[in-house]
């Protein structure tokens, strides 16, 4: 393979068709309350970890729902599991279980 001094850029676009929806479906089965998320961001705003780092649980969930799961493992490692997110969620989403379920299904899918 020749090197012309530049490479072919990867696409930033979310390709929903090719993305991994298996993890999403597993997690949704394990925690159906995620279905009713309205992405208001209260969880992220109150997040204990969020005040020290860029951890954004709302975005973690959104990425999961788009099948963009490659970077999630690194993200959810930052969760302190304190449960504040759950207390502020206007739709009663069980967010701590999102972290657990995600850990597990990422595990299973070797991601």
């Amino acid at each position: 393979m020749k090197d012309f001094g530049y490479s072919i850029n990867k696409d930033k676009q979310i390709d929903f068709d090719d993305n991994n929806k298996e993890v999403m479906n597993k997690v949704l089965r394990m925690e159906p309350s995620l279905q009713v998320c309205i992405a208001c961001g209260s969880c992220t705003a109150t997040c204990s970890a969020g005040q020290f780092t860029g951890f954004n649980i709302r975005r973690v969930h959104t990425f999961l729902r788009r099948g963009e799961v490659r970077f999630l493992k690194k993200e959810i490692m930052k969760c302190m599991f304190c449960g504040k997110c759950q207390l502020v969620c206007p739709r009663g989403v069980n967010l701590r279980n999102l972290i657990l379920a995600l850990h597990n299904s990422l595990e299973i899918n070797g991601l």
Binding site: Y6, I8, N9, K10, D11
Partner: protein, 360 residues
């Protein structure tokens, strides 16, 4: 796909195209990229259609590349464009036709600006007068050379010796049309068929017997984008754009790509080589690429001109497979001979792209 739906839209985007007395301005880059094209345009217009196409050797760049690369200020650009108009006026012409899509877009942009800001136009007139002592009238009609060919597509078809069909099977050839971004994306009303479903090339393909392929990334830019290509660090982005299109059109197994912009055929052609060298991937059948032609080259083929006079030998993706399908005769031996038959030497074959295909 409902063709009648498209036709409805095409009806809405009819533009007036002059049919004679053209003032023709060339592109800065095309004569290096595809040397035969502009020559062929003049040959068709003058020899085939007996039209008056005037050229002035002292016309300059429109500075579009500099403008889009953010190194030429708009007022400078306007003044240079004003000068082109002045040359047209001096030549007693009113129908301005450009070989370059970026110029075409820019001329429209400038005229539109002047329309909304007459004071700017006035200032430019002053600048031009001070700098060159010239003054100008605005053209009555501005069209891109592809508009003109589109306008005469039926005449060309009538005179044509070949059609866009596989002469062995009689099936129409599958053609991808790619429009330069600056043709109608800025001013849909200035392009034949508008911006979403441009008809300028599709019309030629239809009338010359081919089948237009509509594929998902049809709208996407070829990737030239000036800064993207000119700055080496950005070329990864440029090539990614072309690749996106190839991936999207591959499944339709097109016989060729037809273009109307200086940059597009260049990059759609050369990037096929680059991608094959970088990833070993080719998009045509058995290691071949997808031939990329300019509308003049294609018109030339339809009219039965010698492929090597059209400059098809300088394409990176060999066009022989297309010629074979159309049944256009050619002398492989002459491909790399100069105008006076002198040997130009054979290019080194790429590692993956099938450059010397078996020919019929």
């Amino acid at each position: 796909m409902k063709i009648e739906g498209k036709q409805m839209i095409w009806k809405e985007y009819q533009k007036e195209i002059a049919s004679d007395n053209f003032f023709y301005v060339r592109s800065c880059v095309r004569q290096n990229f595809f040397p035969g094209s502009e020559k062929t345009f003049l040959r068709i217009m003058r020899d085939e259609l007996q039209k008056d196409v005037f050229e002035n050797a002292s016309h300059t760049t429109c500075s579009g590349i500099g403008y889009h690369s953010d190194i030429v200020p708009i007022e400078t650009t306007m003044t240079m464009i004003a000068r082109q108009f002045a040359l047209m006026t001096e030549a007693g012409k009113e129908n301005f036709t450009t070989s370059c899509i970026t110029s075409f877009g820019l001329y429209n942009e400038v005229l539109e600006t002047w329309h909304h800001f007459p004071d700017v136009e006035e200032r430019v007139r002053q600048n031009l007068l001070k700098a060159t002592g010239r003054s100008f009238n605005k053209p009555k009609n501005i069209s891109h050379a592809s508009d003109v060919i589109f306008h005469f597509r039926k005449e060309i078809a009538d005179r044509g010796k070949f059609t866009l069909t596989d002469h062995r099977t009689g099936k129409p050839l599958r053609v991808v049309e790619h429009i330069g971004c600056h043709y109608s994306k800025m001013f849909p009303s200035k392009g034949v068929g508008g911006a979403e479903y441009p008809y300028v090339l599709a019309g030629m393909i239809e009338d010359w017997g081919g089948e237009v392929i509509d594929y998902p990334e049809r709208r996407h830019c070829c990737g030239f984008g000036f800064r993207q290509y000119l700055v080496k660090a950005n070329r990864g982005y440029s090539i990614a754009c072309s690749k996106k299109k190839f991936e999207s059109m591959e499944s339709y197994s097109p016989d060729m790509i037809l273009t109307n912009c200086p940059g597009c055929p260049m990059f759609l052609d050369r990037w096929q080589y680059a991608i094959s060298e970088m990833e070993g991937k080719t998009y045509g059948g058995n290691g071949q690429g997808i031939p990329v032609l300019t509308y003049e080259e294609l018109a030339g083929l339809v009219l039965g001109y010698n492929p090597w006079d059209l400059g098809l030998q300088v394409h990176q993706v060999p066009v022989e497979p297309l010629l074979d399908k159309m049944g256009v005769p050619y002398d492989p031996g002459m491909k790399f001979k100069g105008a006076n038959g002198e040997d130009l030497g054979m290019p080194e074959a790429p590692s993956y792209l099938n450059f010397y295909p078996e020919t019929a």
